[in-house]
């Protein structure tokens, strides 16, 4: 999956328009990003990539953090 496709999936989960999320976006900047959405995002990652959510994923705070962790695990590409 590409970074753009993954970001698009996050936009679906967060119910925001496609193309609107920025790397710097966090829970504080995206309305509706609740703790339940955290669980949804981790479960999505687990289901989509077969990755067991580890501490690095649990501690990711921004969209950029998530992209970086997934790129390091070769789950997404450019």
């Amino acid at each position: 999956m590409t970074r753009i496709a993954f970001t698009s999936a996050l936009e679906d989960i967060l119910s925001v328009p496609h193309g609107s999320l920025q790397h710097t976006d966090t829970r504080d900047t995206v309305p509706g990003w609740s703790s339940i959405v955290d669980v949804q995002i981790l479960s999505y990652i687990s289901s989509e990539f077969g990755l067991d959510p580890d501490m690095a994923l649990l501690e990711a705070e921004s969209i950029g953090d998530l992209l970086q962790v997934l790129a390091e695990r070769r789950a997404i590409s450019d």
């Binding site: 989960i13 999505y44 687990s46 289901s47 959510p53």
Partner: protein
């Protein structure tokens, strides 16, 4: 199926919705969901599902469903909403407070009380019991756990008259006692199994047990739970297992709401056998031992025979020359199915969607009763486009997985098996004989006389409560009010003092129809008045004037109980147009009318004579009379 296909269909559905074509969007989404996508699909689909749920029209069944869990249940929501849309249910969901099942059930001021659910899921799992590796007194322990469950079920029934789906207990994935946990008398695995068995055996009619342990076995321990998600978020089962878990929840929902499918319509070539009979001939098709595909096709036939034995009707819809299509049933030694196993058989070169309509008409069933099985993706897509109410099973390219594909949908999942269910296939065969008699009789009067019908009216009792509730929840056409009730609600209505609740049974010289009609009358504050709450009849006995027999018994009972006025309402639905004028025809007076309802009143003393002249009244001789305990005598 390519693993990305559901996601592609989701994108297509989104585009269709944006283009103002919600019904086409729903079709795409349903097809994606029939392909059983993994969890990742659902959070991406949830916004679209919420939008489409609103524009799906009025053919969805409404259901208020509460989910009470001892752990995180929020992840279930998008999955359950999507699966319900797939299954033609417009679900309104209430998610109980985290880990507060008892408070929700027992506290009169809880959110659950305000929500007033029709169906409650109690989601529990093995950790809730804090079970030691070995229990000292397993019998007492099991008894105590089940008694606690029963108290919750009873309280829910008393407060809401709702159906309860109790999640059975799953098993620890890691078990320190290993093999011994299942062999020692008080071993944890053994005790959990005993609890599940005891719940299953003692569940009252308004409770069903969701078999989580079987699902865990099917999915496998490795995928059933995720330690990170459990310890981090109290999420159980794992997201990987969640879609299958929700599928099972939805099967219970469909069964409670009377949405269980009734007929399986199958293609022939490359579905019931491998090969094309018209081209390969009898010797060229594969069915039975000798090839993997042949064995798989034979296994599918055996599976279908099992379905038939529990009341599912079988029908054929095939593009074939009729004689070619019949040949394997008559002559191939590997065939398990025979021609007389089918309630309808259509082999021709007509459009399959048209053939499905004809089959539904022939069986007097709606298309929302039909499951369609066909190996050809183009035929499947065509039928979906023409008949959104038909469930079209997504089949693997090769027949080896056909049974699994059909079984996975749980289309025929039911919570009880009535005498009528078991006898259904035979009843449809006798119906064919009746149709022949009708054709030769010349006039309707002669036909009805020659049927030699006998009917009875009997109280709604513990013996027929399940069947009465089943009819209430699945009858769409001859149904004046289309009110749906749980068993408990029916029992309450039937046991109301000064009311009248009656179940009707019909047979004729061709065979026994079983319990085919229900009337429930509520008492009124004016003690000389009844209100018809529910009046319905199975579509299998339409055109027999049974409604007149039911009316006669109603008037007779009203007179005996000093009732002078009976009120009734016709509430219009997309499917009950056939009874729109029933009250007028029976002599009721119209008292008010709106776009979707008409209210009527009957002056009982003014009714002169019985209307059903072709049906002999054998009330008092019905099979369950005398055996049953009246509901008034039963503790609810």
């Amino acid at each position: 199926m390519h693993t990305d296909e559901p996601l592609q269909r989701l994108e297509d559905a989104r585009a269709l919705a944006e283009a103002g074509r919600p019904h086409d969007a729903i079709r795409q989404l349903r097809t994606a969901l029939e392909q059983h996508p993994r969890y990742a699909f659902f959070p991406r689909a949830q916004a679209l599902v919420s939008d489409l749920k609103r524009s799906a029209g009025d053919h969805l069944r409404e259901a208020r469903v509460a989910v009470l869990g001892t752990h995180t249940t929020a992840l279930l929501m998008p999955v359950l909403e999507a699966v319900c849309l797939r299954d033609r249910i417009r679900v309104e969901l209430y998610l109980g407070m985290y880990g507060a099942v008892d408070q929700e059930v027992l506290d009169p001021a809880s959110g659950l009380g305000t929500f007033s659910p029709q169906i409650v899921f109690l989601l529990t799992h093995w950790r809730d019991l804090q079970l030691p590796a070995v229990v000292d007194d397993p019998s007492a322990y099991v008894e105590r756990v089940v008694a606690d469950r029963r108290a919750l079920w009873d309280r829910l029934g008393e407060r809401f008259g709702c159906h309860v789906v109790q999640c059975g207990f799953d098993f620890p994935v890691e078990e320190s006692f290993g093999y011994l946990a299942g062999t020692l008398a008080g071993g944890r695995t053994r005790v959990l199994g005993l609890i599940n068995d005891a719940m299953q055996q003692t569940a009252p009619p308004h409770v069903s047990i969701l078999d989580a342990a079987s699902l865990q076995r099917q999915i496998g321990n490795e995928h059933w739970q995720n330690a990170t998600m459990w310890y981090g978020f109290r999420q159980h089962p794992s997201s990987e297992a969640l879609p299958a878990f929700v599928d099972l929840m939805s099967a219970h929902l469909r069964a409670v709401l009377g949405l269980t499918r009734k007929v399986l319509v199958t293609d022939l070539d490359n579905t019931l056998w491998k090969g094309v009979i018209g081209e390969d001939g009898l010797a060229g098709i594969e069915v039975g031992p000798g090839s993997p595909a042949g064995e798989a096709c034979q296994a599918l036939q055996s599976y279908m025979l099992d379905l038939k034995s529990r009341g599912v009707l079988l029908a054929v819809c095939s593009k074939n020359n009729p004689d070619d299509a019949r040949l394997p049933f008559e002559q191939h030694p590997g065939m398990r199915l025979r021609l007389d196993d089918f309630a309808a058989f259509r082999a021709n070169w007509d459009d399959k969607a048209a053939n499905l309509s004809a089959i539904a008409r022939e069986l007097s069933l709606g298309l929302d009763s039909v499951v369609f099985l066909d190996d050809n993706p183009m035929e499947r897509e065509w039928v979906r486009s023409q008949h959104p109410d038909v469930v079209v099973v997504e089949l693997d390219r090769a027949p080896l997985r056909y049974v699994a594909d059909l079984d996975r949908g749980r289309y025929f999942f039911s919570l009880s098996l009535s005498v009528e269910d078991r006898a259904r296939a035979e009843q449809y065969r006798t119906e064919a004989a009746r149709k022949q008699l009708h054709a030769s009789a010349g006039s309707l009067e002669t036909f009805l006389a020659e049927l030699q019908m006998e009917a009875s009216a009997a109280p709604v009792t513990s013996a027929n409560l399940a069947r009465v509730t089943q009819l209430i929840n699945k009858t769409n056409q001859f149904n004046l009010t289309t009110r749906r009730y749980t068993e408990r609600q029916v029992a309450e209505l039937a046991s109301a003092p000064n009311g009248w609740a009656c179940a009707f049974h019909l047979c004729d010289r061709m065979g026994d129809y079983g319990l085919i009609g229900v009337m429930l009358c509520r008492p009124h504050s004016d003690q000389a008045r009844w209100e018809i709450d529910t009046w319905l009849m199975s579509c299998r006995c339409l055109g027999r004037q049974v409604e007149r027999f039911m009316f006669d018994r109603l008037v007779e009972a009203a007179r005996m109980q000093g009732i002078h006025t009976i009120t009734g309402v016709y509430r219009a639905t997309p499917k009950n147009g056939m009874v729109a004028r029933l009250f007028d025809e029976l002599g009721f007076r119209l008292t008010s009318e709106t776009d979707d309802a008409r209210e009527y009143e009957l002056d009982v003393p003014a009714i002169a004579a019985p209307l059903a002249s072709h049906i002999r009244d054998v009330s008092g001789r019905a099979p369950d009379d005398g055996l049953a305990i009246r509901l008034q005598e039963l503790p609810l």
